[in-house]
């Protein structure tokens, strides 16, 4: 595989501004942060959810609950290969009954991760509503799922690769696209 062209779509400033805007949109749409909880999808949704929480706390002076979700056990592609993904811990140390859950992930692509996350949340309780916030929506949905809050819409070809780096995991903040020349 040859990946010569790697173009940056967002730098750390761009990500920061997108997160700030999404935080405001979440507060606006829900008319405050009452009953609001954030749940990041592992791995890179978790630091993004953490940043959203800080922004929302700046805006509303309130710390809202934050959880993290590992969706491995809910995946639909577990039997298609013989290499098993490592399962990380799901940590949602609060009840989601009656809450508005904002799911946070880095990239929205086929929608299958979000489908798995919705099932995982339903097994934990009965939220009042679930909303979805993503840093990048790259299209190519395979399921009827859409995001409520999007940092950046990026039209892509299916074979291109979008990589999101967050400094908590990768050391720096960036969103880039790699074009495949096959």
């Amino acid at each position: 595989m040859n990946l010569p062209d790697k173009a940056q779509l967002m730098d750390s400033e761009g990500i920061r501004r997108a997160i700030t805007r999404i935080a405001h949109e979440i507060v606006e749409k829900n008319q405050g942060v009452e009953d609001l909880v954030l749940v990041g999808i592992r791995r890179r949704g978790v630091p993004l959810a953490q940043r959203l929480r800080e922004k929302i706390s700046d805006i509303e002076s309130l710390n809202i609950p934050l959880g993290s979700l590992d969706i491995t056990l809910y995946r639909d592609d577990l039997s298609t290969s013989h290499v098993q993904p490592i399962i990380h811990k799901t940590e949602v140390p609060f009840s989601i009954d009656g809450k508005i859950v904002v799911l946070v992930d880095d990239v929205l692509f086929t929608g299958r991760t979000v489908r798995a996350a919705l099932d995982a949340l339903m097994d934990m309780g009965r939220p009042q509503a679930i909303q979805l916030a993503v840093l990048v929506d790259r299209g190519h949905r395979e399921l009827p799922i859409r995001a409520d809050f999007v940092g950046k819409n990026v039209p892509t070809a299916k074979k291109e690769i979008i990589s999101v780096c967050v400094h908590e995991i990768d050391g720096d903040d960036s969103v880039s696209i790699q074009k495949l020349h096959l």
């Binding site: 056990l73 995946r75 290969s81 399962i87 097994d123």
Partner: protein
């Protein structure tokens, strides 16, 4: 990292990396057991058959629940009510189950090596749930998970296995697993119940409980297998209890933060005193919970799949 073996027959020959991988996978499974809705869809459409040629409560129930918590269909066959009483051989029974589409057969058998034999004749993957005096790998794994949770690590710990070593598959799986993970293992029991060459497995053998417990971090007390003691290997149960039972007095020789394990079912007052079994430093109930978690991890690793980088994007 993935689980490449067809069958899980024992901990002998398993690498430290493989064991850690199973134990790490068991941790998130514990969260599933502890929540309100104890079910994840991971193994939907998979079939697990528990084929038990020996009596068992906890291991069989544990495997059955582990499968059910992950949405697999689990079936139990106890041989007393099956075609085995009509004289069907192990391999024929296995092939029958295979032909019905089972993905995994969990086998307990009185003969050492029975799971390995069956594994060669069926397409289903075999999990050894205890074979003769050979191995009981999931018990070894759940013991290690319990120790690791309480002590933080396995490396460098001194673990004393006390009791009937000769007849114990639990002892052998513990020995293989713990020595691989870097623990020091001691075995202790009446001389008649210690296999003569046991030290060749990399353990220290003792016939004095007091010496074996000196400075131990963990004591794993084995069940006196009364059903296997017909040959007069020790004079009486009462004498055994007097000389080898783990009681509070003997425990004083261990480290002050000693952890006591017992694979169950316990013969209270024989190999373990009542007040020891129920004390805070015993993790006997935790072992049962961890047993379900470890078996969920094993079922997941043997039946799951997925993409190499762990991402659905």
């Amino acid at each position: 990292m993935s689980f490449q073996r067809k069958d899980l027959l024992g901990l002998r020959g398993m690498t430290a990396q493989e064991i850690s991988y199973i134990l790490d996978t068991a941790l998130p499974m514990k969260d599933v057991i502890q929540r309100d809705i104890k079910k994840v869809p991971t193994l939907r459409g998979k079939t697990v058959v528990c084929l038990f040629y020996e009596a068992s409560t906890r291991t069989r129930t544990s495997f059955e629940l582990a499968g059910k918590y992950m949405s697999a269909d689990t079936i139990n066959i106890s041989t007393s009510t099956s075609s085995v009483v009509k004289g069907e051989s192990l391999i024929d029974t296995g092939k029958t189950i295979d032909a019905m589409g089972a993905d995994i057969i969990v086998l307990r058998h009185g003969a050492s090596g029975a799971p390995a034999l069956l594994g060669k004749h069926v397409k289903a993957r075999i999990i050894n749930a205890g074979d003769g005096f050979h191995e009981h790998p999931t018990q070894g794994l759940l013991d290690m998970l319990t120790i690791r949770e309480r002590k933080g690590t396995l490396e460098g710990l001194t673990v004393t296995i006390l009791g009937d070593i000769l007849h114990s598959r639990v002892a052998r799986s513990n020995i293989w697993g713990l020595t691989t993970m870097g623990a020091k293992v001691r075995v202790c029991g009446p001389a008649t119940l210690l296999p003569p060459e046991i030290e060749a497995l990399g353990v220290e053998a003792f016939t004095s409980v007091e010496e074996a417990l000196e400075g131990a971090d963990v004591v794993n007390v084995l069940r006196m297998q009364l059903e296997r003691q017909q040959k007069g290997l020790f004079p009486s149960i009462r004498e055994y209890a007097r000389l080898f039972a783990l009681n509070k007095e003997r425990l004083k020789r261990c480290k002050s933060d000693v952890l006591v394990l017992h694979p169950g079912p316990m013969n209270r007052g024989v190999e373990i005193a009542n007040d020891v079994a129920d004390a805070d430093f015993s993790a006997i109930e935790e072992q049962v919970t961890n047993g379900v978690a470890v078996r969920m991890a094993i079922l997941y690793l043997m039946m799951g799949g997925g993409t190499a980088n762990g991402s659905v994007h």
